[in-house]
Amino acid sequence: MKQAVSYAKYSRFRSLLKSKDIRTCITQQYSSESTKNEPPQDDIGENMCDEKYPGHRPTNLFQKVLLTAGSAGMSLFDPSRGDMIATLGDVTAESALRYMKTKMEQDPVGKQILREKPEINTRTVSIDYLGNLPSNTFGKEYWRFLSRHGFSPDARLPVHYVDDPDLVYIMLRYRQCHDLFHTILGMKPNMLGECVVKWVESLQTGLPMCTAGALFGPLRLGPKHREKYMTSYLPWAIRNGQNSKMLMCVYYEKQWERDLQELREELNIEPPPEIPYPDLD
């Protein structure tokens, strides 16, 4: 049995009927009710606390397994998907990154790198400056590597799936130094060169993605490259991976003007089996 509506209420309601407010009221009420189900404003920040650094994507074990399998499969299926290799690296890196951190902390230059956290991108290093360096320098060789193949130091993807914020910088540094490893080892970015670099990285860092790349990458080599790989490149890679100084403990930003050969000797790296860019610019 409905209660009678008082005249005051009725007259106010009549004016409502004439305006569109009634719909606004109801939808406002709906929207105000639905906001009760949302986490309150203050808690939104706390939800984001699951993210430990900008760009962090928290994942549980099940998601890590899925990502590992999916990214490994996709990178074999479509090798141009560099982001899949990066994802595979991120997801599987935890224990290797701890090992790398320990080793870097034992080395004075490594410790300095961990403290200062330098980054290699076009904001911190000028490509033109590198191009103007003398021909036998490390910086000029790096410039040659970038300009021959159209690479940019900015193209390295940020780290997303490493959960410990202390290890994020190490993963980022590893990614940014990959091209520098190519330069210092004298390897081109073809499949043969990549396999060699992956062997050296795997022996020095223990990253599972590098080990997988070193073991499975050679399966894709053509006959000529496979022969070179088996006879000279593979033994060279293993020797240098084991004997050379840890490449992650080199402050590359301070080495641009160093003579390349001298730097290699200091790091205990043999000259490569073949000179990558024989025609000097």
Binding site: Q41, R57, Q63, R81
Partner: protein
């Protein structure tokens, strides 16, 4: 006369809402009025997935999500739903049951799934037998042949040809749809319109039917979208919405939530290199009102005979209303 009309309307409204509700509405109305007087330039906050953003930001963010996912949109739909989204869309069109000569506007219909199904359904002679709707293999130019009229009649008698206007705010999605249409050889009975669902660039009382499939939850103001739908439909026109909704069964809801939050962003990263967009998409599903609340909203915007139907345990719901 006017007074008795108002009393009549009041009685109808009071039947819907009891006293407590009426008082709440009245108090809300005063809050709304004073709100407008005091701060005309306040930035209203809304949700973008589980984040809180301003309304302007939401529109931009949603635009960039769909710009990023456009190329892989269809592949991801198949991967995420195991192809079931095709069955949902087939069933949606069967429920709409368009006759030949229907003028449809499909809003947020960028890549054309609903539009192509509509054209096939409306142009098919034998409307009763529509089992095979796999559009990738079955859609061909013959499916879209218009009825065999005399040419003069055809020129003068546009009312007898079915037509769909695909409207989307996002240019990338429209381009994917146009590409699919030309690949399938569909070149008549369809037009493409860039526009915002909250203010359609269309005149009043134009369309026989309005559909929006998996698009409305991305709009900033759902009520405005439904109001616009009311405006552009002819009297007697039908509004239909296919959208993710609330799963009533708690066990199934748990499985569905785990799948959504754990697997879908991973699939997004692997197939489309885009974790963030797919994380937004699964969060936006949770922010959308449940079946009953959405039904009430549609009724409030003026539609009658509003019903809903759950598909796949309530993962998806079809809401329908008529402009009477």
């Amino acid at each position: 006369m006017a007074a008795s009309m108002s009393r009549c309307k009041l009685r109808i409204l009071l039947k819907k809402y009891d006293n407590r509700h009426v008082l709440k509405l009245l108090s809300n109305s005063y809050t709304v009025e004073s709100g407008y007087q005091n701060n005309g330039s306040s930035k209203k906050k809304t949700h973008f997935g589980f984040q809180s953003v301003t309304e302007e930001e939401k529109e931009e963010k949603v635009y960039s999500v769909f710009k990023n996912v456009a190329d892989k949109y269809d592949l991801m739909n198949d991967a995420m739903s195991g192809g079931i989204h095709r069955l949902w869309k087939d069933h949606f069109i069967r429920r709409l049951n368009p006759k030949q000569g229907t003028k449809l506007i499909d809003v947020a219909g960028g890549t054309g799934d609903i539009a192509f199904r509509f054209l096939k359904y409306a142009c098919t002679e034998n409307n009763g037998n529509l089992n095979d709707f796999d559009f990738t293999s079955d859609f061909s130019a013959e499916d879209f042949e218009m009825p065999d009229f005399e040419s003069e009649q055809l020129l003068g008698n546009q009312e007898h040809t079915s037509h769909v206007t695909v409207c989307d705010i996002n240019q990338s999605m429209l381009e994917v749809g146009q590409g699919r249409a030309s690949q399938a050889g569909i070149n008549q009975g369809i037009s493409w319109l860039k526009g915002n669902a909250e203010s359609l660039p269309v005149q009043d009382n134009t369309f026989d039917a309005y559909t929006i499939a998996f698009g409305i939850r991305n709009c900033t103001h759902i009520d405005k979208v439904v109001e616009e739908a009311y405006r552009v439909l002819k009297p007697g026109g039908r509004f239909m919405c296919l959208e993710f909704s609330r799963v009533p069964n708690p066990l199934i809801r748990r499985v569905y939530d785990e799948y959504s939050f754990q697997v879908i962003p991973v699939l997004g990263q692997i197939l489309a290199s885009d974790w963030d967009s797919y994380k937004y998409l699964v969060e936006s599903i949770r922010q959308f009102p449940c079946q009953e609340d959405f039904k009430t909203l549609i009724q409030t915007c003026g539609f009658s005979a509003v019903t809903y139907e759950n598909l796949t345990f309530g993962v998806v719901a079809i809401h329908s209303g008529f402009k009477l």
